[in-house]
Amino acid sequence: MSSVITAFDWFVLGYFVLLNSGYLLLIGVASLDVARWMRRFSFAAHDDIFANPLTPGVSVLVAAYNEELSIVASVDALLGLKYPEFEVIVVEDGSTDATFERLRQAFDLRPVERVIPNEVPTLGRVLSTHAPASDIPLLVVRKENTGRRSDPINVGINAARQPLMCVVDADSLLEQEALLRVVKPFIDDPRVVATGGVIRAANGSRVERGRVTQAVMPRRWIERVQVLEYLRSFLLGRTGWSRLGALLIISGAFGVFRRDVVVEVGGMNLYTVGEDAELVASIHAHLRRAKRNYRVAFVAEPVCWTEVPHSAAVLGRQRRRWSQGLGEVLWLHRRMMFNPRYGRIGLIALPYYLLFELIGPIVELSGIPIVIVGYALGYVDVPFAVLFAAVAFGYGLFVSLSALAVEEFSFHRYSRWRDLGAAVLAAVVENIGYRQLHSWWRLQGLWRFIRGQEASWGVMTRAGFDSPQ
């Protein structure tokens, strides 16, 4: 029995070391990319992209379900984007709150005729289309709710008329130049078919007229930990994956795609909750099979600010959904796994997500009962176990602080010393309690995937942005 517990301890430690080393490697690779981006920013000529009449137009797609608190601020921010040619298409997915009414009042919406062809499959019937009386490039499509986020997005894809489409969450705020920057890879390299932009947590930050004017760390620890998570995983993790040529996830909160390629793969999958990752995986699968030369890129600075969950209950729902979605995506694309035909996606990215993201919570959580049982049976050497845990904890903390250091050396969005201090403390707090709770939510999500629970939007309670009057 003792040797079984010892062997398991070593397995868990090895797993932690591998997991955190993976993160560290991604952060290291990302830091090179970020440094390069910073050095070259002064001659990136985003103004030329804005001035060029041949810059490809973008349809910005927003799926909105019960977003009455933030929808007007979000659409306001989108309409104020600096970009030569774009349209904003809000697909109001049968909300039960005043989402449409808020939009109607704010933008003086009137019913209009709009041809929406069926290029990608949809489920819910389109009820009506609305546009402002003025020339504002906004279209609001009302449709029946089907409980799936991918359905309104697919309606938006069908309604879109620009060669590029940008998918944005209704609770997100894009920075004014975000679209120019995230579209730049399409202009620089005709092989690019999709790009993702950075998502940061807006909680606690000062928001004026749909713009984050000052980044501030939120007050609640659960939000602070998410700021750190977003920094580590969304900014540096995805920049690292992009640099390695194996980017599998572009967040549904902010991603740009070539519309024709999205139509080729049939739009978003209507039967998964991981529709954003599934779309990117489908694009990889389709273009690899067709032997087409393509790129999926990530841009480290076009920032999309989003409101992250402010309570454990809401966060738990979100993370269960993410974990279930990941399981569904990996299952749907299992043919690519360990398959050299799919290059780095099949050989590196998918196995990584399987081993460290999907089944990670099983390994992390199984350690707790085994240590308790081992202790009760007298098989656990307490000083040794404490040392063991301290090394695992310290390495995790080092990874988080490395991410913070890269942020401070590059973008340094949080200007106050107290924000830096709060972020350091959040890195400590994250490992005590939060990490275990997070693993529990992910395990529940995995269980939902195994049971084949049906996909749904999920109820995300919003507090709205902190907009001073």
Binding site: E113, V115, P117, F384, L387, A390, G394, L401, E408
Partner: protein, 354 residues
Amino acid sequence: MTRVASGFVAALVAITALLVLLALATAVRKAMRESRDRRHARVEAAVRPALLSYLAEDEPDPHELDEVVQGRAAGRSLQELAAGLLTKLRGEDRRVLERLLDAQGVLDQARRRTRRPGPVGRARAADLLGAAGYEAALPELTRLLRDRDPDVRAAAARALGKLAVPSAVPALLGSLDARRAVPAGVVTMAILHIGPEAAAPLADGLSLDHSGTARAISAELLGRLGGFQAAGRLIEALGSDPEERVRAAAARALGRIGVPRSVPPLEAALMQDASASVKQAAAWALGELGGTRGFAGLTAALRSPDHALARRAADALVSCGPLGVALLQRTAATDEPGSPEARETLGRLEPAAA
């Protein structure tokens, strides 16, 4: 203590040391950056008024700033401010700034920096030479179009555009097909910067000696720059170019240029071309040209199962005047193909009429 436990202790000590070092490095970096920003703001606050009053003078002497701007930091700040203002100013103020940078040796230095080993230095040099409109740097910038770094090539192309020299157009078009190519978006903007004088060399770009990318861009830009003289070659490209993107670009260009003799070839493209994108471009172009001469083709296109084509045909029919609007109204009242597109177009007309 066992060897394993000793190993753990050593690992813990090493991690703790790294954590402390990382925290210290982050804090020091933040403190240094804040201090540098404050110093920079202080220097700039002193230099900016001197530069602005210099610009306001009738006959400024570049050397009079030497008395005000003393020290390396102030000199660098002056050059940064002047270079930054270059892109914002026009006319005499801009020429004064160019003379100032020239007198300070900044532009000659930038020419030399186009040979620096680091790509960032080369790109910044190209950027400055372009912003200053420094024509003497044409050979350096043309050379940088073949640089090994893509960002340097793009910076050189943009700079060539800002020099506004039509003789740079063949090199810019050539850079599209080079082994180390310049992105099409960068080249188009550079040629647009050059302006209508670029039309003549662009017309040569329609020749089949060039790649499809170069021909498509030449056609597109001829439309944007009003290349009336190239209308014949655009009509020829619309009818016979082997690549659909070139034919589509030629159709759009003819629509923009607005030469009446392009209506029959556009209508022929609308009716007979095999490519959906060419048909759509031809429908749009006929709408831009107006009149009723393309009416028959547009009427057929309105009933196309291709929604994008039907929509463009519906929009174009409005420019056919009462005849086109009456057709849209008749179609809108039915369930025939083209009726949703007709209703959408008429719906847009109503608020405008009101």
